[in-house]
Symmetry: D2
Subunit: 133 residues, 4 copies
């Protein structure tokens, strides 16, 4: 699992006084950076090879400004050309949100999915979630 720390930004609060729900996909995307490096170590756009097909965010508790949020990221499932990422955000010892995203290994030239090479699968397997998680 990857651990990532984020400081909620003041501009991410909304009129209800908490962090607006739309920041979660942004944070979860950032927290997947180390995962992106497995596929594209330089993170350069010329060699970018992943596409986000679907994601889900569940809000568990209100998130406040002024305290760091910790995001844990793990692999839930690996398919032929795609994989599912599971993420959990917590703040102040409390779980605040869950994220799940379906990523596809993708060729931006032909605009089509490609098989994940065995070597990368191996690397992903090092970050799979424990069965009980």
């Amino acid at each position: 699992m990857f651990t990532f720390k984020i400081e909620p930004r003041f501009s991410e609060t909304d009129a209800l006084g908490h962090i607006n729900n739309t920041s979660l996909p942004v944070w979860f995307e950032e927290a997947r950076t180390d995962l992106f490096r497995i596929f594209n170590p330089s993170l350069k756009r010329e060699t970018w090879n992943l596409i986000l097909k679907k994601y889900e965010v569940e809000m568990l508790n209100q998130i406040v400004h002024g305290k760091p949020v910790t995001i844990e990221t793990g692999i839930q499932r690996i398919g032929g050309s795609s994989f599912v990422v599971h993420q959990k955000a917590s703040q102040n010892g409390l779980d605040v949100a869950i994220g799940e995203s379906l990523m596809v290994y993708f060729d931006y030239k032909t605009l089509s999915p490609i098989q994940i090479p065995g070597e990368i699968k191996q690397r992903l397997l090092e970050h799979t979630l424990e069965p009980e998680a």
Copy 2:
């Protein structure tokens, strides 16, 4: 169903040249505004009474800058204190994304869900999706 038009912003593009996936929850939230008015006509935060519990976004096609996006919003299911909103974004005649969100009628003072009054349910029913949708 409510129809909402949005102009993708240049700052919403990303290095891959298309609209970044994190804009979709922002757009879908905007497209739910007329729905919010059913619960809170003034949209003022003092009387705000909804909370987003969960949402899902599925990307169907790349979204580009420079062309308007149309979002259609309808009610999929109504429960005691919650309801599910289904949304579809299209651009240039092509479906580009699907959104689904679980909203809860919520008392921000007691921080707990409340029953949706019959009058509001009636208004929501006017915007339910066709069975075949």
Copy 3:
């Protein structure tokens, strides 16, 4: 002058209840779109030829969610390879913000400023501000 209408987004409010100041550069950028089309009619990134060198935002009044904002955009000054854009945002009949930005006609291949062609200058002159503005 160009006129542009924008609907403040709920996610652009902050915990103080009003629109956060960081949305203004986003809105002003959007309101310059018709200006960008003079330089790059397709708005495509392959032919993009402007760079923002400097900008200034002055907040005149608090901006609220739920009411449209009108932005007027005009050319204030034209130089050899650059020009200054003046913008005014108003809401509900009240001026709420002023923006000024210095744009440079720019070659992204050589990463250097280039002279604005006479034909484009002519088009810009049609959008200059009145002396008394």
Copy 4:
């Protein structure tokens, strides 16, 4: 001077491949957090007492994704109820942007500026910029 480190987010890149200019006010606002704590240690909105009147951003070099940005923040000038903050962002040893903002000590109940107390002025003076800066 305060030093603040920020990781540019992928969603902050734009179609030109670099970080969009509109992220700078967001980053500069975050980098002023320690300054905000001098005025409002809890950072809570109920006791918030500053308003941003004006700001200026100058882009010096393109900012890329994948490398941290360091922001240095200092006080440039202190008036009766306002003060000017000067900020410099650098990446990879290169200055990339300069920010200047005019903050006003503000009473959100009466919606009017108030005099900065001597004790706070004293704290601000500890963060003034060197004359040669």
